[in-house]
Symmetry: C2
């Protein structure tokens, strides 16, 4: 995995920070399914993820409308309804990316 290749700002980021519950509880399978499904959504720009003590996943999107459509996707909503099976705590932060640099 490399840092996501994203277009010139502005675009949008959803930072999902979480602490997992103990045990898998189908988490691995569901996470993989959700990533594959997200990547097919209109306006999806990229994804980055890492987990140690906490997990941080960042998805990048072309617009607020694209984020809203993904949040309301029926399969994604079914996954969201199981959040407490997988997470002791989580925060979702919806952001407008204003500037990007690096190498």
């Amino acid at each position: 995995m490399l840092p996501a290749t994203t277009p010139q700002p502005p675009y949008y980021a959803v930072i999902f920070t979480s602490v997992r519950t103990d045990g898998d509880n189908d988490y691995g399978e569901m996470a993989q399914q959700m990533l594959e499904l997200a990547a097919k959504q209109p306006g999806f720009l990229g994804f980055e993820s890492a987990r140690q003590d906490i997990g941080i996943s960042v998805s990048y999107w072309a617009s607020h409308e694209a984020i809203k459509a993904w949040r309301e996707n029926i399969l994604h909503r079914q996954a969201q309804s199981r959040a407490t099976d997988w997470y002791k705590a989580f925060r979702v932060r919806v952001c407008r990316v204003e500037r990007e640099y690096g190498f």
Copy 2:
């Protein structure tokens, strides 16, 4: 580590995504120093970090001015000048956090 406790949006996030070089090259010590120094800066709101294949660190800030002051901090600039010792690739994304939710 838990998800950062941040105020009501709007506030700002810097998403730092990176791939490490091989070997430590003083990275561990410098990363710890930089986190301690960042946490003392005016406008610092919190920090989250995880590394697997890639590293994702997110720092949260009260304003663009706070981010700029931290970017230009002299000790931080000395660390920035060694970026290629530590990173094969990195991206910095400066974001405005518009909405936050979770449990």
